[in-house]
């Protein structure tokens, strides 16, 4: 049974002081851009709560992990969070077309994002805690959009075969 993959529609990077450094929506969803800003804003609170619950032994939250999983339920979208050791937060929003768990796949996207972010941060012309304007970083995010989309169409094709 082919697992239906969902396309990533929005990627955001939040600084350690909790203001947005980067927010990019895939072109097909561009009208919902404002809505995503709002979603990301709410998501920050949830992330802060998750990462500050030190040693309370909450079930399902491994404090040592950077990946935070789905943050809060929403009708149209699934919102995933990831917090680095340097308190920078990444948020990935995807379409909510199936209830299958996609943790490994989303974690892969976060790892790619983290690598791209670390590379961009090391650029001496980048001032920390300012807006991210790197074209190379943009391209990594575009790759994430493409990757998630292509998996979607591949599995639709297989679905039709069955």
């Amino acid at each position: 049974v082919a697992i239906l993959k969902m396309a990533v529609v929005c990627v955001s990077v939040i600084s350690k002081e909790n203001f947005p450094l980067y927010l990019r929506t895939v072109s097909t969803y561009i009208e919902n851009d404002m809505g995503f800003h709002h979603i990301v804003h709410t998501a920050i609170d949830v992330i802060e709560e998750k990462i500050s619950s030190v040693g309370t032994g909450r079930a399902g939250t491994d404090f040592r992990e950077h990946y935070l999983g789905p943050l809060y339920p929403s009708e149209q979208y699934k919102i995933y969070g990831y917090a680095t050791n340097t308190r920078t937060k990444f948020i990935i929003i995807t379409e909510n077309t199936t209830s299958q768990s996609r943790d490994t796949e989303i974690n892969q996207f976060f790892k790619k994002l983290h690598q791209a972010y670390a590379d961009m941060f090391c650029n001496p012309f980048y001032t920390p805690d300012t807006e991210i304007t790197s074209k190379r970083f943009d391209r990594s995010v575009t790759d994430i959009f493409k990757d998630s989309e292509s998996k979607l169409s591949k599995n639709e094709h297989h679905g039709n075969k069955n």
């Binding site: 350690k16 990462i51 030190v54 040693g55 404090f63 040592r64 992990e65 950077h66 917090a83 680095t84 050791n85 340097t86 308190r87 983290h114 690598q115 972010y117 670390a118 941060f121 090391c122 001496p124 920390p128």
Partner: protein, 163 residues
Amino acid sequence: MSEVKVQGEVSQTLFEYLHMEILSHLIESYGNEKKGEVISALEALGSRVGESMMERVSKDVPRFRTELDAMIFLCKQFWTHMFNKQVDHLKTNNQDMFVLYDNNFRLLMHLSESSQHQDKSPLFLAFTSGLITGALSNLGIKSRVTYEVPKMPQCFFQIKINL
């Protein structure tokens, strides 16, 4: 027991030479009397590099629970990344003071062991002190670092963090 692998010897050596050259260039530009400015410039340089290094090195490491965890990471993985060895000794008062001892500091290695250049030795530590403040600040820990060279090539860094 795992041995610390000696990696990237070429880039390590290049960094040491670059560091020496940065020092000598700054002393020339500012003049011999303005040691304070040279030290500030070195600390600022080190700070930005420390932030970037910390971003890279902490990428694949589980989250730090306490400041002590972060300091231990600094003394082990971070120091190894920069200088191919760990900090030799870490002292703490378990609150806000930490002292890092390095008995064979890489950037002092090439200087004579006699006390001939003792007074210039703080200049060799300024960059690294910036490295430490930058690295810690990227983890969300504000700190103040002082340093001393009791006897070449030993040195220690005294770190006071804001809890």
